[in-house]
């Protein structure tokens, strides 16, 4: 446990070391938030409800998505794939610490940094300009837990597609497909409430909704009582599925790993 804590601190410090990168990211998220907010507001000129979302719900969604994008790390993560490609994974495997546990601890140290420094400010800017929806105290607490679960689901998924590097020399193709699926089906690009019925059903049946749509719906108070527990249990389920699959591929990959040179 103490070791995990130390690794998590590393994850935090790695990102805290670049304050200008953080400032630049906040600026970019804010610009995107504004553009998307006004595009979706134009939809509400013609109707007052889209898939159960009113204007305040949708605007809140837009700004929460911008706030969470770095926390759940939607974009390309390939640190594991690079370590497999250059052979450093051999050193990782020789350590008395499981690589998956290492990256999970590291990511759980990174995520709070991004949540606080990349999330709060863009959301605050959005809250100053637009009338947003704010959660009740229990929902806010559930939201924080749900975001933490979303980080684990996301890391589990990233670990999985990164470990394809054991079999492929170049993982960029796999990464692009994984990114396309997760960006679109998580609700990052567009709230799932805007999707046509069949696609929304499909997206909710897949694990990606647990990365973005679920925590935001909890903030918006769309789930109550047993349903609230249910969606969080589903997040935990997908986290375990991805971590389990990642563990299996790591084991299978390690067995066939040949590191050239030395």
């Amino acid at each position: 446990m103490r070791l995990d804590w130390e690794i998590a601190k590393l994850g935090w410090r790695r990102y805290a070391a670049y304050p200008w990168a953080t400032a630049a990211g906040i600026f970019t998220n804010t610009v995107f938030g504004f553009i998307q907010a006004y595009i979706l507001l134009a939809v509400y000129r013609h109707r007052s409800d889209v898939g159960g979302y009113d204007t305040a719900d949708t605007l809140t969604y837009v700004w929460l998505a911008q706030a969470l994008i770095m926390t759940v790390y939607m974009f390309g993560w390939q640190e594991l794939a690079l370590r497999i490609r250059d052979g450093s994974i051999a050193t990782d495997l020789a350590r008395p610490l499981d690589p998956q546990r290492y990256w999970l601890a590291y990511d759980l140290g990174r995520a709070p940094y991004h949540f606080i420094f990349r999330g709060v400010l863009p959301f605050a800017v959005g809250a100053l300009v637009f009338r947003l929806h704010y959660p009740s105290v229990p929902n806010a607490l559930a939201f924080v837990v749900s975001v933490a679960l979303a980080v684990v689901v996301s890391l589990g998924f990233r670990f999985l597609y990164n470990s394809s590097a054991f079999w492929l020399i170049d993982v960029r193709g796999v990464m692009m497909v994984s990114l396309t699926l997760s960006l679109f089906l998580s609700g990052m690009v567009m709230p799932l409430a805007f999707f046509p019925g069949w696609l929304r059903t499909l997206a909710h049946a897949l694990p990606f909704a647990s990365i973005m749509q679920t925590p935001i719906d909890i903030w918006l108070g769309k789930h109550h009582g047993a349903a609230l527990v249910g969606v969080m249990a589903l997040q935990a389920f997908w986290a375990l599925v991805f971590l389990g699959l990642g563990r299996l591929t790591l084991r299978a990959g390690a067995r066939r790993l040949v590191v050239q040179g030395g």
Binding site: Y18, P19, W20, A21, A23, A24, G25, F27, T28, V31, F32, F34, I35, Q36, Y38, I39, L40, L41, A42, V43, R45, H46, R47, V50, D170, R172, G173, M175, M176, V177, L179, T180, L183, F184, V189, M190, F194, F195, P196
Partner: protein
């Protein structure tokens, strides 16, 4: 004037040859760029699943904007690169090397990041354009065909100038390379949609001061013969080439100013 062109062709030719060495990787990259750029178009389709019009624009008209913005973005990315390599050069002090060479620094930065795989996104934009252009009722005359010919080069120059100015921030903020994403990806995102749906303050800033409305919005109004929801004088629709020229001059000046303030990280 001829000499830089020859040099550029040589630089780019070498990069293309090296990228084609790994055929499978190259094809995968191309397909990847093609796939991931579909997300933005899916977003447009999802919006129009819920409404028939966004402001005064229907789905085919927005797809037209989208296609032109994507093609211009992809070609800009292909021609001048993403300008995300050179902040690294500033951080590690290697920008010094560019300064001692007898060519302009901007030319060297632009010429050193040519990635053929970026064509994937342009192909996607062309497909959308091919799909939508037949269903739009456009009265092709000399003026419209002329606009069609000049709008993409003008858009490339405008996008490119905006990226250069955004990239210049790296001279002051050594690890702030992501600022340029707001201008490049953010600019593309904005140009895909009609600017009249933005609120007035954001429009003034992003559409006129950062002249992104001249990338697609005004040329498209002209080609589609659409009344401007903003009721600006009609000649504004023809200004894109002039705006592109002005933007390029501003970008050149800003770059020169920024380079003069470059402090080497040593090394």
């Amino acid at each position: 004037m001829v000499e830089p062109v020859i040099l550029w062709r040589r630089l780019v030719g070498a990069q293309i040859r090296s990228q084609l060495q790994y055929r499978v990787s190259f094809v995968l990259d191309l397909v990847g760029a093609f796939l991931i750029s579909f997300i933005d178009f899916l977003a447009v389709l999802v919006i129009f699943h819920n409404v028939t019009r966004l402001g005064t624009w229907n789905v085919r008209e927005v797809a037209f904007l989208y296609a032109f913005s994507s093609i211009s973005f992809a070609l800009t990315d292909l021609l001048i690169g993403h300008l995300d390599q050179f902040p690294q050069k500033i951080r590690d002090g290697n920008f010094d090397i560019l300064l001692v060479r007898p060519r302009s620094t901007l030319f060297q930065v632009i010429g050193s990041d040519f990635q053929l795989r970026r064509l994937g996104k342009a192909i996607q934009g062309l497909l959308v354009l091919g799909y939508v252009i037949g269903s739009l009722d456009i009265h092709w005359d000399a003026g419209r065909i002329g606009m069609l010919v000049v709008m993409v080069p003008a858009a490339i120059v405008i996008f490119g100038s905006v990226w250069v100015v955004g990239g210049c921030l790296a001279f002051w903020t050594t690890d702030g390379g992501e600022f340029s994403n707001a201008f490049s990806y953010g600019g593309n995102f904005m140009a895909q949609y009609p600017v009249d749906i933005l609120s007035a303050w954001l429009r003034r800033f992003l559409a006129y001061i950062v002249p992104l409305a001249f990338v697609c919005y005004f040329p498209s109004l002209y080609i589609l013969d659409k009344p401007d929801p903003l009721r600006l004088p009609r000649f504004v629709e023809l200004l894109s080439p002039a705006v592109a020229l002005a933007a390029a001059c501003v970008a050149g000046l800003v770059w020169r100013f920024a380079v003069r303030h470059y402090r080497s990280a040593g090394g």
